[in-house]
Point group: C2
Chain length 428, copies 2
Amino acid sequence: MQLDIGNALDSVATPGVSTDALDRLDDAVADAHETIAAGMSNARFGYASLNLPETTSAAGIERAVDSIDADAVLTVGIGGSALGAKTITAALGEANHFLLDNVDPEATNRLLDALDFESTAINVVSKSGTTAETLANFLVVRDAYEAAGVDWTERTVVTTGESGPLAELAAEEELPKLAVPDGVPGRFSALSAVGLVAPAILGYDIEAVLDGGREARDSLTESIDDCPAYAYGALAVALERRGVHTNAFMPYAEALEPFAEWFAQLWAESLGKDGQGQTPARALGATDQHSQLQLYRAGRHDTMVTLVRPTARDDREIPAVDVEGLAYLGDATLGDLLDAEFEATEASLAAADKPSIRVELDRVDEHGIGDLLVSFEAACIMAGELMGVETFTQPAVEWGKNAARGLLGGEETAEAAAVRDKREYRIE
Amino acid sequence: MQLDIGNALDSVATPGVSTDALDRLDDAVADAHETIAAGMSNARFGYASLNLPETTSAAGIERAVDSIDADAVLTVGIGGSALGAKTITAALGEANHFLLDNVDPEATNRLLDALDFESTAINVVSKSGTTAETLANFLVVRDAYEAAGVDWTERTVVTTGESGPLAELAAEEELPKLAVPDGVPGRFSALSAVGLVAPAILGYDIEAVLDGGREARDSLTESIDDCPAYAYGALAVALERRGVHTNAFMPYAEALEPFAEWFAQLWAESLGKDGQGQTPARALGATDQHSQLQLYRAGRHDTMVTLVRPTARDDREIPAVDVEGLAYLGDATLGDLLDAEFEATEASLAAADKPSIRVELDRVDEHGIGDLLVSFEAACIMAGELMGVETFTQPAVEWGKNAARGLLGGEETAEAAAVRDKREYRIE
C-alpha cells in the first residue's frame, strides 16, 4: 500500500496539516509504535491481531475444509464474524459467496428459496457461540437444508471459541471446527479462520492473502515518512483534531465496496468512544461523484475523503463511436475513464480546499486485499493510540443486546423496561 | 409513512428540539409549504417532481416496453439515472435487475461474462444523452451483445431528453424512447420513466408505485403535526442547526438498502451547499448494530439516526432448540427478533442521549416504496426551503466533469491543468 498525503497538507486544504505538525506527530507515532510493537511481541489483547499473518496456518484451514465439496458458500455470522470473509471474497470477484448477516425474514426467505443446498457449504461463525442473530439464522438454515433432504452435517464448517453451544454442536456432529484466535477482536479477525474459511472452500489462494498481510506487517516502522499504514492513522487523527469528523471512504473499484464496509466497522467500533471518533461514510467511485461529491465539495469543512485505487487492473476497450462530442471516449478504455475521474475528483476536492488522502495498492487480488486489511488495522491501532481510546473493546453495544434479550426472552432487564418507557410523539 | 419524533425531543436527546421550538418551526413550515404548493401548481423547476405521481402515465410506460420480452433488465445509467430504478426493484425483492452505474472495467467484465444476453433487456438512461460513464458503458454493452450474436436493438429502451445522441440513436434504430420529464432533476425522477421502465419490463405493478406516491403527495399539509414528510425535513434541519451534522439512515429491511443509498444522494446533492448540509451515512439494521452503533452511542453528539421499518412483513419461524441460554429464540420468529433489535437500538440511542427519528411504512411493496420516495422528496424540499439553499441544482460537481473531460479528451481545460499540478507527498 502506498499513500499520497499531499492534498491533506495545510498548503492545499482547510483544515489541513502543516509539515511542522507532521514532524511533531512523527514523535508521537514513534512512541506509539513502541507500544504497538511490544503488544505484538507479547501477543497482548488486540495487538495480537497484527500477528495473524504469522500465526494463522493456511494449510491448517485448508485441511479442515478439505472434506467439503462445494461450489458456493453461505456464511452465517454478523459484524466482524461476516465482514472479513465477505471483504476477501468480494475483492476476488467471487459471486457465489452468500451471507446471512442480518435477521430480516423476507431477505432470508428469498435467499433460501434461491439457494442450491446440495452445492452450498455452510460457514457458521460466532466467537461466543451464542450471538442471537447468528444462532437464529443457523437454526433456520439447518432446518431449510433438512426440509430439502440435504445433509447439512456433511457441508458445515464451524468457527467458534473453545466452548459454547457451537463448539458443543461441532463435537456432537463431528463437524470441522476452527478456532477464533485468542486476543483478537472480531473486527480484527479477517486474516484468521473467521475470514479465510469461505475463500478456502471456494478454492482461493489464502496463503497469498496472508502474504499480503505479512508485507503490511513487515512495513510497520517508527516513522510516518516510510510507513503508509501509520501515516494514514496519524493523519486521520490530526485532521480529526482540526475538525474533520467524517471520513468518506471511497474506493475506485467495485470489488472493494465491502472493504469500505469493513473499514467502516473497524473505524467506528474501534475509535467511536469517549465523545471522539470519525464517522465513516461509505462511498464508491466513480458512482458517488454523481451523489455525494456535491456535499463533499460544497458542504462543511468537516470531511476528509479517502480515495483508494489499484494501480493495475484488467481493462476493457470502449468501442469507437462516430458521434460529435463523444468521439473522445472511443480512444480510451473504461480504466482510463475511471482513472481520469479519480484524479479529477481528487483535484476537485483540493480546488474546494477539502482534504483528501490517496491510497494505492498494486492490484485487487489475494495479495492486495491481505495488504490492505492489515495496513488499515495498523492504521486504526495507531489512531487509537494517538487518541488515547480503548481500541479493542465495544462497550456501548451491550446496552442494546441486554434490551433485545429482555424483550424477546421475557427476562425483565432494566434495558427492556426502558424500551417500554419510550417517549412517543407520533405524526401520522 | 408515519413518524415518531419522540426521541428527537430535548427531553430525551442532546441536542434535541424543544416543543416550543417545534411550534416556532411550524410557522416556518407553513410558509415553506406555500412556496412548495405554488411551485407544484406552476410546475416550477424541481417542485414539478412532486407532481410525477399525477403526470407519469403508467400505461404509457407499459405500452412503450410492451414489445420487450425479457426475464432480466440491465440498467445503464449513473446517479439519479440509476438509483431510482434500483431502489424500486430492490424493494420488490427482484434479483434480476443488473446495473452498470460505474466504469470499473473488472466489474463490467464480470457482469457481462455472466449475463444471459438473450433474455436481458437494456434500459439506458441519460437526460443529456452525453453522460460519459453511461455512454461508455452503453457502447461496451452494445458491442458485447453484438459479439454474442444477440440483436440489442430488439431489447433496448432509451430514456432521455428531447435531443442529444441517445435521442438520435433511438430514432435511427427505432427503439422505444421515453422522456425524462421536464423540470425534474435526476435524483427526483424515480417516479417517472427513469425509475419505472425497469420494474415495468420485469412485470411489476408500477401503477401501485404511483399510487403510493400519490398518497404521500396528498398528505402534504401546512403543519408538522399531521405531515410526516415535512416533519422529517423540519426536524432534520432543526437538529442540524443544533450541531447534528450527520444523518445515519438505517432501514431495518434489506430490501430498503438501496433506498438508503437513494436517500444519501437526495440529501447530499440537494442540501450539501453553502457550507451546510447533513452528511448521510448509510447503515443497515440489524447488521450495523455490530458495526456502527458503538460510534453512534459513544461518539460525538453530532449524529441523528433515522430508523426505518415496515410494520408488516412476511416472516419465518426460528426452529425450537434445546440449548441452555438459546431456548428463548425458539419461541420467536426472525421478524420478532428484528423488531426487538429495532426497539432496543432506538432505546439504546435515547439512553445515550442521542437523537433518533422512527419512520414506519406499512409494508415494503409497490405502494410502500412509492410512498417513501415521494415522502422523502417532500422532506428534502422542505429542508431546502428552511435552509435557504438551491435544492434542485448541483453546481459543485461540474468542476470534476470538466477536469475528466480535459484529461481524457485532450481538451486543455483549466481544471485538467489543476489536476496535473497536484501537490505530491508520497509515503511508500
